[in-house]
Amino acid sequence: FYLTPPQVNSILKANEYSFKVPEFDGKNVSSVLGFDSNQLPANAPIEDRRSAATCLQTRGMLLGVFDGHAGCACAQAVSERLFYYIAVSLLPHETLLEIENAVESGRALLPILQWHKHPNDYFSKEASKLYFNSLRTYWQELIDLNSGETTDVKEALINAFKRLDNDISLEAQVGDPNSFLNYLVLRVAFSGATACVAHVDGVDLHIANTGDSRAMLGVQEEDGSWSAVNLSYDHNAQNEHEVERVKMEHPKSEEKSLVKQDRLLGLLMPFRAFGDVKFKWSIELQKRVVESGPDQLNDNEYTKFIPPNYHTPPYLTAEPEVIHHKLRPQDKFLVLATDGLWETMHRQDVARIVGEYLTGVHHQQPIAVGGYKVTLGQMHGLLTERRARISSVFEDQNAATHLIRHAVGNNEFGTVDHERLSKMLSLPEELARMYRDDITIIVVQFNSHVIGACQNEE
């Protein structure tokens, strides 16, 4: 079984999406030039999700990748809802009031987010009313709280994450008279999702991470080479601080059973996640909800199964770790990706491949004649060769696609091997998951001119 290059391309490009921040009158005032994103499924259906949106009532852009487990329901819900929670958390008091008044009097709402979605990135129509009501309750509380202080982005991100997870939990406990919705909210709560979200506003980049997806900054050094800076910490067993945190939160007696085989309670890889109420609710609550729930839930062995050594829930939190970074002109791009990418590629390689792709031929060590003796013929030969080399890069119009091509198709020499790529992509559904995980990537490109100008102003 062999895939031709065009077949490979059509698989790789099926989910690719690009967004360019519009230029106004020749000027792009945003620090973000645009982003490329793509997904390659291994699970069927894919359990990863991605989101991107521009905040319309505050400045800034939100981008996120979400890695679901035990189904895609939770990842789907978080991908639809989380940015609204973040946007609302960032809104000033007056805007919240204005929005609430509009809802109250049935007037048109101020748009909060402008989504940048691939046609495959769907929103659930059925749950929108339910989700909206929960969100409204949240902003009503924010209005009542009115701290009067300007919103701190870090705090807003943390609040939004925690609040959404709380709402997911509550909605599942309360249930819904509509049986479809009732089953949906339960599936959302019983499945789980990690989230890695970036908020970019001018030179202020915030990364809020929950789980083992990762954010990485691509930095161009003065000599033109590329290096990677991590902007998130994985929440898993490899992270000593995480293991330490989990152990601190539970009695000493549980120390041995907390982390087994590098998994939380011997079951869960990420140490922080949305949903996953099996690791959050008390046993009684779990039993009550499952028993009163629909048959499908009752028949599901997974939901009925209580993790071993389950004494002092919650064992899991959705609270993110937030890192703030001031963008510098040498910070050229940001990669957000689910662990499917990081399992196969080192971040240094990611930085190099994306960096070289984005700068294309121009900054790839420009040729200078200088004082050397070069003939026209020699120069011509050199340029023709460079052109041939570069043309392979331009096969992809999307940096994320380019990265996936490398992640899946790289041979031991670090170059894309078509045969390998063809094999990996033609694996039958049931085998695919054994060789690779779902991969979701967003590559955000920064505008160094704008960032440089902002820096000078400050």
């Binding site: 020749g26 031929v361 040729i367 004649v369 003796k373 003939t375 026209l376 011509h380 340029l383 570069i390």
Partner: protein
């Protein structure tokens, strides 16, 4: 990097000149009254301040001072001739498509040739000649068209075979060539030195030159220049000339009253090499290989070769602070296609050693033509910039015309194609300019075929019907930012794609336009003509009438509801504008002019109407959608849509009535069609446009109504011998010269602008005459089509050029319009052109070197009109705008 460039370009000759230059600098300083040597302080005032010490600024200074203006200050922010002028390739080439550009280049060449003798500054002028190569037959046609124009201008030029090319240049590979054009008098110069020579001559004539002085902004009071602010103080002045090259846009925007100068810079690369083993002769012809996108000239025994790539790199979009010109980098990867083309053309150069790849930005304009003239918004603010990489070729001529303009009030040639006022604020968006110049720069080398349309910067101004028409197969062209329909492609029919439809022969839309024309003749068509410029002029008393009577040549004191075709003439009787004016009431007039008159006409009238609150003029272009209902059944369609009687008795030709059409009220209906065909123009308030269009199309169904475009209109108007302003008519054409005496109120004893000139012409006769030519032995399917600018021969002697042409579907012949002059056979002196002179000649039209017999006519065919229903109400005027 700056040092590197300096070293490269300052060859021995330059240094010699430079030394001399410095000495002269001292000599001006010693003549100036101040004792202080450095720096000489700026004068407090001057008549003229020129900003920019490149080829343009120095040429303007040179010509102004020659014409007797002495009180001139030239300011240069760096050193003289240090910008694009310094780095440009120094090729003086007269092979130009547009006649005014050709004239400028020819003048420049002659000026530079004697400049060294005049000034003593070595200019490096060498008459090398130039060879333009053709790799395809189409390219050869294009070159032949230029050759025809050059020959009738008296510039030696010949079409040669590839073998002859090889004889003229030893290194050229001729295997892929089909021919070439040789212009033996083209030249090479050191452009910086030409600029210095002009500056030297200017300073001898009294012009003060100050280097290292930059203009921060221009002060304006009451719409006129009053002075400039520089980093070294103020200078009061009456005139300001912006010759700031690629900084002209920014400088234009730096004042409180912005002056829009639509240009944008692109990087431009050329290669310099070490000398060949056997150094190239300095008089070896320059090679232009447009199909390879390159030019190649000899340079100090080696070569200098650059070109115009398909993927240009625009720069300075955000303004000058991004990068300094000297810091621009070489980009070899970008240059690779041009290098390949060079080695293909001259394979023996493989072993030649590279010296440097120079990055020299050039500024480009939205229509590939340079920008000159006075600002429409600020009096006394003149501009000369945007040379589209031909600054050296145009420098002399452009400087001369601008100087004439400033001194005399108008230049000695028709420069409308270059006039700043052809642009408005709408062409000043940086995004528009950035996108457009990326299309314009490759066009430098692309084949110039008839009816070319720009692809970028489109859909800016549109009619409210745009989407409707587009959905019905409209194909669009653009004028002054406005989208206009060329023709409608019928459903199921496919035209060639853009690249393939480029042809000098019969185009693929021939039958489509033919059927639209047929429908106009036999039934009724709708053409959306909303792009027209529309002004309303009204007053509380008779001021409007009185003033317009003076400014327009035809009698406007007609009964209310009449439409008058009239010229807006200058003192010499030439057409500044050609328009129709409807008298809406005793005191208000509705004026319709060509689309690209929006800025020019507005400025002309504003400057001449009294500044009086009782007289108002408003630009209402955007308020009305204009539909042209052409054809014998137009009357029936309109009758059914309105209760007002519109039979010829109630609604004769050249009438204007406000009436309702369908549900919509207040539609201005005029019984004119701009083609000589029967029908109506409907001026519709835009909110009713869709309604009226739908009603017309629905009602028209039973009369066979269909959409039509401007190509059909053009064919109709040309076969009827209607001239249009901007192509046939210009500021150097009078009504007398195009048979429109009947549109002038000479007999009415009223004063108006241009009256004296016209009276004189009436007495003494005219020196050129607008004539219609029917091509006789021209095969529409097989022969090259005429376009415009083709030389006209009478009894074998050159007498003028065509100004427009179209295929007449009625005559089944091509029709060319053009002007016939009468040159004395011996002296070449211009003589009076009489009717007999026109009628008693055998004519030929030269299309790319091939001559076709033509029949000359001074009046349109009456036989064309016989089948018409309203033959007694023919629009008498030869009048049309496009």
């Amino acid at each position: 990097a700056a040092g590197m460039f300096l070293r490269l370009l300052s060859d021995v000759r330059w240094r010699a000149a430079n030394a001399k230059w410095r000495r002269m600098t001292c000599s001006w300083r010693s003549t100036s009254s101040t004792a202080e040597p450095h720096p000489v302080s700026l004068p407090a005032q001057a008549q003229v301040v020129i900003c920019g010490g490149g080829i343009m600024g120095t040429s303007v200074a040179y010509h102004l001072s020659k014409m007797g203006w002495k009180d001139i200050v030239l300011l240069e922010q760096g050193r003289l001739a240090a910008g694009t002028t310094r780095f440009c390739a120094g090729i003086v080439s007269t092979a130009r498509h547009v006649s005014i550009e050709l004239k400028m280049a020819d003048y420049s060449n002659k000026l530079y040739q004697q400049l060294e003798q005049e000034t003593g500054v070595k200019t490096g002028y060498v008459k090398t000649g130039s060879i333009s190569l053709a790799q395809t037959q189409d390219r050869l046609i294009s070159l032949k068209r230029i050759a025809s124009s050059l020959n009738v201008m008296g510039i030696p030029c010949e079409i040669i075979t590839p073998k002859q090319v090889a004889q003229l240049h030893p290194l050229i590979n001729i295997h892929d060539l089909v021919g070439a054009m040789y212009v033996p008098e083209d030249a090479l110069v050191s452009s910086a030195n030409v600029s210095l020579a002009l500056a030297t001559a200017a300073s001898r004539n009294g012009v003060q030159i100050h280097e290292r002085t930059s203009v921060s902004h221009v002060s304006v009071q009451k719409g006129c220049v009053t002075g400039v602010e520089t980093d070294r103080g103020q200078i009061q002045c009456q005139y300001f000339v912006n010759c700031a090259g690629q900084w002209a846009y920014e400088l234009g925007h730096s004042g409180e009253e912005p002056v829009n100068i639509p240009l944008h810079a692109c990087e431009h690369f050329y290669l310099l090499t070490h000398p060949l083993k056997e150094p190239l002769a300095s008089n070896l012809p320059t090679i232009v290989d447009p199909d390879g996108r390159i030019y190649i000239r000899n340079w100090q025994g080696g070569i200098l070769s650059g070109g115009f790539e398909k993927n240009p790199k625009p720069l300075f979009t955000e303004g000058r602070n991004q990068l300094e010109i000297q810091n621009l980098q070489e980009d070899w990867d970008h240059f690779e296609p041009l290098l390949s083309a060079l080695l293909r053309r001259m394979p023996d150069l493989e072993a030649l050693q590279i010296m440097q790849l120079v990055n020299c930005p050039e500024s480009f304009t939205p229509d590939m033509r340079c920008i000159m003239g006075e600002s429409p918004t600020v009096g006394g603010y003149f501009v000369l910039a945007g040379m589209n990489s031909a600054g050296i070729s145009y420098g002399g001529g452009a400087g001369k015309y601008l100087a004439e303009w400033m001194v005399n009030g108008y230049p000695s040639e028709n420069v409308w194609p270059l006039d700043l006022k052809r642009f408005g604020t709408l062409q000043s968006s940086r995004t528009f300019l950035r996108h457009r110049v990326m299309e314009v720069m490759p066009l430098m080398c692309d084949l110039k075929v008839p009816r070319w349309d720009f692809q970028t910067g489109r859909q800016l101004r549109t009619s409210p019907l745009y989407d409707r028409l587009d959905a019905q197969g409209a194909r669009w062209m653009e004028k002054h930012g406005f989208e206009r329909v060329k023709y409608f492609v019928p459903p199921g029919k496919d035209l060639l794609d853009l690249d393939q439809s480029k042809t000098f022969y019969k185009p693929d839309w021939f039958d489509i336009v033919g059927s639209e024309v047929k429908c106009c003749k036999e039934a009724v068509c709708v053409i959306d003509m909303s792009s027209f410029t529309k002004f309303e002029i009204s007053s509380t008393g008779d001021q409007a009438l009185e003033n317009l009577q003076y400014l327009f040549s035809n009698d406007l004191d007609v009964p209310v509801g009449h439409v008058v075709h009239t010229g807006m003439l200058n003192e010499k009787g030439g057409y500044e504008n050609d328009c129709s004016i409807a008298r809406l009431s005793k005191r208000s007039f509705f004026m319709i002019s060509p689309t690209d008159q929006q800025v020019h006409c507005w400025t002309w009238l504003k400057n001449r109407l009294p500044n009086d609150s009782t007289l108002t003029m408003e630009d209402v272009t955007w308020k009305y959608t204009a539909l042209n209902l052409i054809g014998p059944r137009a009357l029936d369609v309109l009758s059914e849509l309105s209760y007002a009687p519109i039979t010829p008795e109630h609604f004769p030709s050249l009438f204007c009535k406000e009436m309702s059409v369908g549900y919509a009220n207040g539609i201005r209906v005029m019984s004119i069609t701009h083609t000589g065909e029967p029908g109506f123009m409907l001026y519709i308030p835009i909110e009713y446009a869709l309604h009226v269009y739908n009603e017309v199309m629905n009602m028209g169904q039973k009369y066979g109504i269909r959409n039509a475009g401007y190509y059909a209109l053009r064919s109709l108007r040309i076969e009827k011998f209607f001239a249009f302003w901007g192509q046939d008519l210009d500021a150097f054409t009078t009504p007398m010269e195009c048979g429109r005496e009947f549109q002038v109120k000479l007999e009415k004893g009223m004063q108006f602008v241009g009256q004296e000139a016209l009276l004189e012409q009436k007495q003494n006769g005219v020196y050129k005459r607008f004539t219609m030519f029917i091509l006789e032995d021209h095969d529409t399917d097989m022969d090259l089509w005429p376009w415009w600018g083709e030389p006209i021969f009478r009894n074998g002697r050159y007498v003028g050029k065509t100004t427009s042409s179209a295929y007449s579907y009625t005559l089944e012949r091509h029709v060319c319009l053009g002007f016939v002059q009468h040159f004395d056979e011996k002296t070449g002196e211009e003589l009076v052109v009489t009717t007999d002179f026109i009628n008693q000649g055998e004519y030929e039209i030269d299309i790319a070197g091939q001559r076709f017999q033509a029949k000359a006519k001074l009046y349109p065919f009456s036989s064309l009109f016989t089948h018409r229903r309203r033959k007694d109400e023919v629009e008498l005027s030869g009048y049309q705008r496009e």
